[in-house]
């Protein structure tokens, strides 16, 4: 990080709301339908049609606003943002200008040093998405473009941050925190590849100690959180070089080129942005009552950071564990269910962070899409604790339960995985192995105590992992004594 300059970043995030229908009409808002199959006179802006606001979209936008500590404009309205582009059938986008639903909020992030920092939110408003434009060739030289208006009119919230972000890492932490909150609320799937979460950034540098902001560039077209971090890091360096050379940053829009890993100037707009906003006369204003806000507040789930801190306190977990377990609401739920039935919370955490996350990844599923539940995990941990199975065998059982949902006890029974803790049975096997390996026995007697591991291994192999390792170890020592 530069000592000379301070980085100043503000982010604009668009999140598609997971409603059944579009924001102002009864067309399906589903992703991936056949081109233009979800269109109607309203979302295509045909003359004489009247939009009507989707109740659930309003509710979702208010939930996001309150979860991000926003104040609510109790008198709010929609406005037309006027510009021409073929993905916008009406020639304007219905958005919100001077009275956004939410304003003056904050998102708490954790920095790499483990400290918390608040990023201010200027506003959260509700608006409609545009259609999708497909260019026959490259932009600029193709004779025709094609438009699919399925996405046109799908509800979005735009979340605008204050210029409080001071590094690309903080930008990523902010996006992570924001995404987690949205996922906890269940109002969007935040899938960046499908475009349900999009992010633009304003970046500028200023000499440390300066109060005024430097000239900013806007960066667009970043398609993953990693791309955001990289694009911002590139942009910071680019501006640093310009300033060091005594040159000025040009206020412009730049696009992130993923293949070249650099930001490229989009040919500048000749006209300054001038959207001539005015109140949307086809929609009545919104009056949000105190009772409605209260009801929204009551409907909010415990949010990720609160939950993390509670996990640290209530279950005495390290910050790292609590962070991983609260990544998703489903995972946190599974942890709490398990920890409620098995009293070593750290052990529960270890299994979830280790085996469970590994299996999720391997099977390409999300928490909640597998067959494990809290009761079954607790049962498995009991089986390890009382010596019925070894922790090694437990992994096999865990996987079976994860996939089929069979209770661990049942799996152990069916597969005959019960640990051999019976002394007589094991002593017999041990005697045989000791007799078969006279050289190793000599080594051990000669002081190479580590060689005992080899014999334990042999016992485990013979019993297909079912021997109680501590007992095997003890019996081997006793057996060697006899020789």
């Amino acid at each position: 990080m530069s000592k000379k300059y301070e980085t100043v970043i503000g982010l604009e995030v668009h999140v598609q709301l997971q409603t059944e229908s579009k924001l102002f009409c009864g067309c399906s808002a589903a992703y991936g339908a056949e081109p233009n199959s979800n269109t109607c006179p309203i979302c295509l802006g045909l003359p004489g049609t009247l939009p009507m606001l989707n109740k659930r979209a309003l509710r979702f936008a208010l939930q996001a606003s309150r979860a991000a500590d926003c104040q609510i404009n109790q008198f709010s309205k929609f406005d037309r943002k006027n510009y021409f582009y073929p993905d916008l059938p009406k020639g304007y986008q219905i958005s919100q200008y001077d009275l956004p639903l939410g304003y003056d909020g904050r998102i708490t992030i954790e920095t790499e040093e483990g400290e918390t920092k608040e990023i201010g939110l200027t506003r959260i408003h509700l608006e409609e998405d545009a259609g999708k434009l497909i260019h026959a060739g490259s932009v600029g030289d193709s004779a025709h473009s094609y438009v699919d208006y399925n996405r046109g009119g799908v509800p979005l919230i735009e979340i605008v941050s204050e210029p409080d972000i001071r590094s690309p890492e903080e930008a990523r932490a902010y996006l992570n925190a924001l995404k987690q909150i949205i996922l906890y609320l269940g109002i969007s799937d935040c899938n960046m590849e499908e475009g349900s979460l999009r992010c633009d950034a304003n970046v500028s540098l200023r000499t440390r100690g300066d109060r005024e902001f430097g000239i900013k560039a806007e960066v667009k077209n970043m398609n993953s959180f990693r791309a955001v971090e990289r694009a911002l890091a590139y942009e910071v360096k680019r501006q640093e070089k310009l300033l060091d050379a005594g040159r000025k940053v040009v206020q412009e829009t730049r696009t992130w080129d993923e293949s070249r890993q650099e930001t490229v100037s989009m040919r500048g707009k000749e006209e300054a942005e001038d959207y001539r906003y005015f109140p949307e006369p086809d929609l009545m204003p919104l009056e949000i009552s105190d009772e409605f806000i209260e009801e929204i507040d009551d409907s909010l789930p415990e949010l990720p950071l609160e939950k993390k801190h509670r996990f640290q306190e209530q279950y005495d977990l390290p910050a790292y564990d609590a962070g991983v377990l609260t990544q998703s609401r489903e995972l946190a739920k599974l942890f709490e269910e398990s920890a409620g039935k098995y009293d070593d919370a750290k052990e529960v955490s270890n299994w979830l962070m280790g085996e469970y996350l590994r299996l999720l990844k391997e099977n390409e599923v999300e928490p909640g899409q597998d067959e494990l539940n809290g009761e079954k995990l607790a049962e498995l941990l009991e089986l390890i604790e009382d010596g019925t199975i070894s922790s090694k065998i437990a992994k096999e059982v865990f996987e079976e339960t994860f996939v089929s949902g069979k209770a661990p006890g049942e799996v152990v029974e069916e597969r005959g995985l019960k640990q051999i803790s019976d002394e007589d049975e094991l002593a017999e096997i041990v005697a045989g192995i000791v007799a078969d390996n006279p050289e190793v026995v000599e080594d051990i007697k000669g002081g190479k105590d580590k060689a005992i591991g080899f014999l334990v291994g042999q016992v485990m192999q013979e019993t297909r992992g079912k021997a109680n390792p501590q007992l095997a170890n003890q019996l081997i020592r006793e057996e060697i004594e006899k020789h």
């Binding site: 409603t19 059944e20 229908s21 009409c25 009864g26 067309c27 399906s28 056949e34 081109p35 233009n36 199959s37 979800n38 269109t39 109607c40 006179p41 295509l44 045909l46 009507m52 606001l53 989707n54 109740k55 659930r56 979209a57 309003l58 309205k77 006027n82 021409f84 582009y85 073929p86 434009l133 497909i134 260019h135 026959a136 060739g137 932009v139 600029g140 030289d141 193709s142 004779a143 025709h144 473009s145 094609y146 438009v147 699919d148 208006y149 040919r267 707009k269 000749e270 006209e271 001038d274 001539r276 109140p279 006369p281 929609l283 009545m284 204003p285 919104l286 009056e287």
Partner: protein, 96 residues
């Protein structure tokens, strides 16, 4: 008075091509309209809430339900040009 430059800017935003004579003409006409409307500024509105809508109605909402069928053929017929269920539009030219 609205200058010819402002008229040119507004025309540009509205994607209208105006001749020099038209710019002159509209500059006068729009200035007249604005001057007329500006009379309203003479009214003392101290303490009066802005009126965004003339109708005393608010919170007109619909349930989140899919009520529309696939009407793409009917919709596509409204367009001057189409191809394979897509609306076909002139290529996007970048302004120099």
């Amino acid at each position: 008075m609205i200058s010819r430059e402002e008229i040119a800017h507004i025309a540009e935003l509205a994607s209208l091509k105006l001749t020099e004579e038209e710019k002159e003409e509209f500059s006068e006409q729009l200035s007249d309209v604005l001057n007329y409307i500006n009379k309203i500024l003479e009214v003392d509105t101290e303490g009066v809430e802005p009126t965004y809508y003339p109708l005393p109605s608010s919170n007109i909402l619909r349930e989140d339900e899919v009520t529309n069928q696939d009407r793409r053929q009917e919709m596509l017929e409204q367009a001057p040009d189409k191809e394979d269920d897509q609306f076909k539009v002139p290529g996007i030219e970048q302004k120099e």
